[in-house]
């Protein structure tokens, strides 16, 4: 079968909603797109642990601490599911980690913002995980089987992340005036970066059209962003907090919340490495990897020792 026929048959499978599996023929560009997207997603889970890790020892109660630990543990697990899915496409884990550590691969820019107060743990759970869930719910139906299955598993676990965040804020807004102000301050800082998580607007998005045709993505950045705003505004109102957007208003006709312009200069600036925490996050990640090298070496040595001992016992 020639290249053209293979590609026609591939697209036909996608159009019929038949999932693509690891050993199936796929265009090189599809493989590349997915490796890039899945590994970026995996890196985001891993780097996403850093801003939260800072607050484990500062959690205000044992209940909050246990929840935060469990959330961070989930994120490590989600990173693993995603790396595994990427590896089914013939790329090695070492190669992926190397791309992250050398700054060649990207991760979600949201993690280049600092988590300054305890209420940021609430805002991150509610907004950042909320935005991630919007995207991940869609990706459960992505055309690549291993990615889709990883997403289904992740979505099952993710809902607690958002709920625990919202509960943190709910507790703060019912507390003292200072606590409520702290919650408002978190919303002020995290709102716009959360909207940017969905990526450039459809008109500016370079990968969108092909990704939709291949059903790697099922909805556009702008559609997902709007769905997030519509879901989140009433939740902010319930908290009694004000979304930092003077242009925000309900449109009776469309049934959607209209929001003001996004500062794309800020977005691209952070993507290009000039956010508040870009350098710190990468440094912490590389340090964690390098300082953990002895654990990986010891595990290999231990496995070899066990193997050698077994050979002696059973001649």
């Amino acid at each position: 079968m020639n290249q053209q026929d293979l590609e026609t048959r591939f697209q036909d499978k996608i159009d019929r909603e038949v999932k693509i599996e690891a050993k199936d023929w796929m265009p090189e560009a599809y493989r590349k797109t997915l490796i890039r997207q899945i590994s970026q997603h995996a890196h985001s889970e891993v780097v996403g642990m850093l801003p939260e890790g800072n607050w484990i020892t500062r959690a205000p109660s044992l209940r909050r601490k246990a929840a935060l630990l469990a959330k961070i543990q989930d994120e490590a697990g989600h990173g693993l599911y995603l790396y595994s899915a990427a590896e089914t496409m013939g790329v090695s884990r070492d190669q992926l980690l190397d791309e992250l550590h050398t700054g060649k691969a990207k991760y979600s820019s949201i993690f280049n913002y600092p988590a300054l107060s305890w209420s940021d743990m609430g805002a991150i759970g509610w907004l950042v995980d909320g935005a991630a869930i919007m995207n991940q719910v869609m990706l459960q139906r992505t055309s690549y089987g291993p990615y889709s299955r990883a997403m289904i598993r992740i979505c099952k676990e993710e809902s607690f992340h958002q709920r625990q965040g919202y509960e943190i804020l709910l507790t703060l807004v019912r507390g003292s005036a200072e606590q409520k102000a702290m919650a408002q301050d978190s919303l002020n800082r995290w709102w716009w970066p959360s909207l940017m998580m969905f990526g450039p607007s459809d008109a500016e998005s370079t990968h969108s059209e092909q990704s939709l045709k291949w059903k790697v993505k099922r909805k556009t950045n702008d559609v997902l962003r709007q769905a997030f705003v519509d879901a989140t505004v009433p939740q902010a109102q319930y908290l009694g907090l004000t979304i930092p957007d003077p242009d925000l208003k309900w449109n009776e006709e469309t049934g959607h919340w209209e929001f003001g312009p996004i500062d794309w200069d800020e977005f691209w600036n952070v993507v290009k490495g000039n956010g508040i925490c870009n350098r710190q996050r990468l440094r912490d990640r590389v340090n964690a990897h390098e300082e953990g090298a002895w654990v990986r070496d010891a595990a290999v040595a231990y496995a070899q020792k066990k193997e050698a001992r077994k050979a002696v016992v059973t001649p």
Binding site: E21, K23, D24, W25, A70, Q73, D74, A76, G77, L80, Y81, S84, E87, S92, R93, D94, L97, R149, A150, R153, K156, E157, R296, A299, V300, Y302, A303, K306, E307
Partner: protein, 93 residues
């Protein structure tokens, strides 16, 4: 991770059900693979039993030959109960 082989993980969610493939992970040996599988794939009581198989030992049919591979079953409708006409009066059979 270079020296850590890849393992496929299978989980039995409760007794009476089959082990089902849930994903994969890297580990130095089967014992570490089971311990890690517990930590990443059963954090919410998803399982009562874990199997791990080193990925290199799994052999798979070729997806390119899917059509010819499974073709012989396609025209054998008489293997299905609905192929046979039994009057309704006979009841469930």
């Amino acid at each position: 991770m270079k020296d850590w082989p890849l393992w496929e993980v299978f989980i039995r969610s409760r007794n009476g059900l089959d082990h089902k493939h849930v994903g994969s992970l890297h580990a130095t040996d089967w014992e570490m693979a089971i311990e890690n599988a517990r930590d990443v794939y059963t954090r919410r009581n998803e399982g009562v039993s874990i199997w791990v198989v080193e990925s290199k030992f799994i052999h798979a049919s070729d997806p390119e030959e899917q059509d010819s591979m499974f073709e012989s079953a396609r025209d054998k409708v008489y293997r299905h109960p609905t192929f046979y006409d039994i009057p309704d009066e006979v009841g469930h059979m």
